[in-house]
């Protein structure tokens, strides 16, 4: 017994890594589709969806992309689902990249989606536009947008028709893996725009109070939020649309079970060890 305890105490970290690896990769293999559970949407994610549902054709949505490939896993599926939803609603989409490392990732992703047959009517500069990057901080950019929207970005296109200032934007969605969008939340009281946020799961609990004060309308929390959004879009517009977030849910479940196992085992070992020492 003591022998096992000692062994468990000094378990090689690589065994833990290997088990986690297996728990993530096995549910993704072909033939394991039956492990995909339905994901019931939470009210926070549904709030973003409902706000977009309220928009009319030709309204303006501003996507504020502030993540780089390191958080691609959690936020890119959300971006894709949201962009798809916007295109289904036929609203105009402005995509601004606050993170310069995200520009090509976003462009490739948009290109991939607009190449689909259902979105073949989408034109860059008319239905959506990549606003790329400007070297100023978020707060100054918001001040600037409030005065002169088009001049801030130095871009041209039919899409800018009737969009003069911040007031003409119907919804802003921030996608961030950092505290970048805190500025948007702080300034929301002053400029009174509608702002939803999709964050990495790590940051999720930090933004709940702002949801309660109404500074945020909607919060999508990590990969789970993206899966919920995919589900909402697929329920409303097409059946059986599974994006990468929904595919990942089964892995998420099983890796969590393995991690639970480790936490419980760690605690058992700890208490047995404590008892032995007295």
């Amino acid at each position: 017994m003591n022998n096992i305890l000692e062994k468990l105490k000094k378990i090689d970290r690589r065994i833990i890594y290997f088990l986690v690896f297996l728990s993530i990769i096995i549910p993704l293999l072909p033939g394991f589709d039956f492990l995909i559970f339905p994901v019931p949407p939470t009210k926070e994610t549904r709030a973003i969806f409902d706000e977009v549902e309220k928009l009319n054709e030709g309204d303006v949505v501003f996507i504020d992309w502030a993540f780089d490939p390191s958080s691609k896993a959690e936020l890119l599926p959300m971006f894709e689902a949201f962009f798809k939803h916007c295109m289904k609603k036929k609203v105009r989409v402005f995509i601004y990249y606050a993170s310069i490392n995200g520009i090509n990732l976003g462009k490739e992703s948009v290109k991939k989606m607009t190449a689909l047959e259902e979105f073949s009517w989408c034109r860059e500069g008319e239905n959506y536009i990549n606003m790329e990057y400007i070297p100023i901080t978020a707060d100054i950019r918001i001040f600037n947008m409030d005065v002169d929207f088009k001049g801030t970005y130095k871009k041209e296109g039919k899409i800018f028709e009737g969009v003069e200032t911040l007031k003409d934007i119907n919804y802003i969605l921030g996608l961030s893996g950092s505290v970048y969008h805190q500025t948007h939340i702080d300034m929301q009281i002053r400029f009174n725009y509608k702002f939803g946020l999709a964050v990495t799961a790590v940051m999720g609990p930090d933004y709940v109070p702002f949801l309660q004060t109404g500074q945020l309308t909607g919060l999508a929390n990590g990969l789970r939020g993206a899966a919920e959004y995919e589900r909402l879009v697929s329920d409303k517009y097409e059946n059986n649309y599974y994006g990468s977030a929904t595919k990942g849910m089964s892995s998420l479940t099983f890796s969590h079970l393995v991690i639970f196992g480790f936490v419980i085992m760690g605690n058992i070992v700890y208490f047995m060890d404590k008892k032995k020492r007295g």
């Binding site: 000094k10 090689d12 970290r13 690589r14 890594y17 986690v20 690896f21 993530i24 990769i25 993704l28 293999l29 390191s70 958080s71 691609k72 896993a73 959690e74 890119l76 310069i100 490392n101 520009i103 090509n104 790329e132 990057y133 400007i134 070297p135 707060d139 001040f143 130095k154 702080d186 300034m187 009281i189 002053r190 990495t200 799961a201 790590v202 999720g204 609990p205 930090d206 109070p209 309660q212 004060t213 500074q215 929390n221 990590g222 990969l223 789970r224 990468s244 595919k247 990942g248 892995s251 998420l252 890796s255 969590h256 991690i259």
Partner: protein, 251 residues
């Protein structure tokens, strides 16, 4: 075949597009076994590519449209407001003095200005936010359902208790001590929720990689086997394995 077509052929063909991402993924994952030259090579390729990428994009999206173009326009037709560009440019150039030890104070002009005006517009906004957070706490406690009512009771008293914990100018004894203790529990629940979310976040980072590996099964298997063989050869013949002390202090 001209040069551009050759480049396209190298960087856009199927072999590059499928093998390189898988190889990169497996190379970095070899770090999980132990630090090795393969990982170091990958790391340095990554740093090089990222810096080159940044420089090109900075040139394209920053320097060209917001510096070179305005200067060109200035030469064509000078407006009075273009003076602001010159003032800002001169102010910002002082940043270079940070590299010097003796003349570092010249950069103060820029930083003093920047911090000063940030303070100017930020103070009212911060006050607005504090007031909003406070008014949000002043709510009728009866909110209908059981969960809603208990939720607001916990939020109101929990925030108060946690603030008491941060209140350092009096010793934490008596009523204050007990409230601060509740505050600690509240903070612990916050950190617990944050940890729970963090686990989900971290795991989903690898799920994305796993999806890539599953999408290209042949490539992943070949690359994994190759990297494993490399690791065995490297640690067996080129590097004497040191005894790893795997105690609790790790991580």
């Amino acid at each position: 075949m001209d040069f551009n077509a050759l480049l396209d052929n190298i960087f856009l063909n199927d072999i590059f597009v499928t093998w390189v991402p898988v190889l990169a993924t497996v190379m970095v994952m070899s770090f999980l076994y132990k630090d090795n030259p393969l990982y170091k090579i990958g790391e340095n390729i990554f740093i090089g590519v990222s810096l080159g990428y940044m420089w090109i994009l900075m040139w394209q999206y920053t320097i060209k449209p917001f510096f070179i173009m305005p200067v060109q326009d200035m030469f064509v037709e000078f407006h009075f407001w273009d003076i602001t560009y010159i003032i800002w440019f001169l102010l910002a150039l002082t940043m270079f003095f940070r590299f010097s030890r003796k003349k570092a104070w010249v950069a103060n002009y820029y930083f003093g200005f920047l911090f000063g005006y940030t303070a100017g517009y930020y103070i009212p906004i911060a006050v607005q936010n504090i007031l909003l957070q406070s008014t949000n706490l002043m709510k009728p406690m009866n909110q209908g359902s059981f969960f809603e009512t208990t939720k607001w009771i916990v939020i109101i008293f929990g925030t108060f208790a946690a603030l008491m914990y941060f209140f350092f100018s009096k010793p934490h004894k008596g009523v204050l001590g007990k409230t601060a203790r509740v505050g600690i529990v509240i903070m612990m629940i916050f950190f617990g929720a944050a940890f729970g979310s963090t686990v989900m976040g971290r795991v989903s980072l690898f799920i994305d990689r796993a999806l890539l590996l599953v999408d290209f099964p042949m490539q992943s298997i070949v690359c994994t086997i190759g990297v494993i063989i490399y690791l065995i050869i490297y640690f067996k013949f080129f590097k004497k394995e040191e005894k790893v002390i795997d105690d609790e202090s790790f991580i």
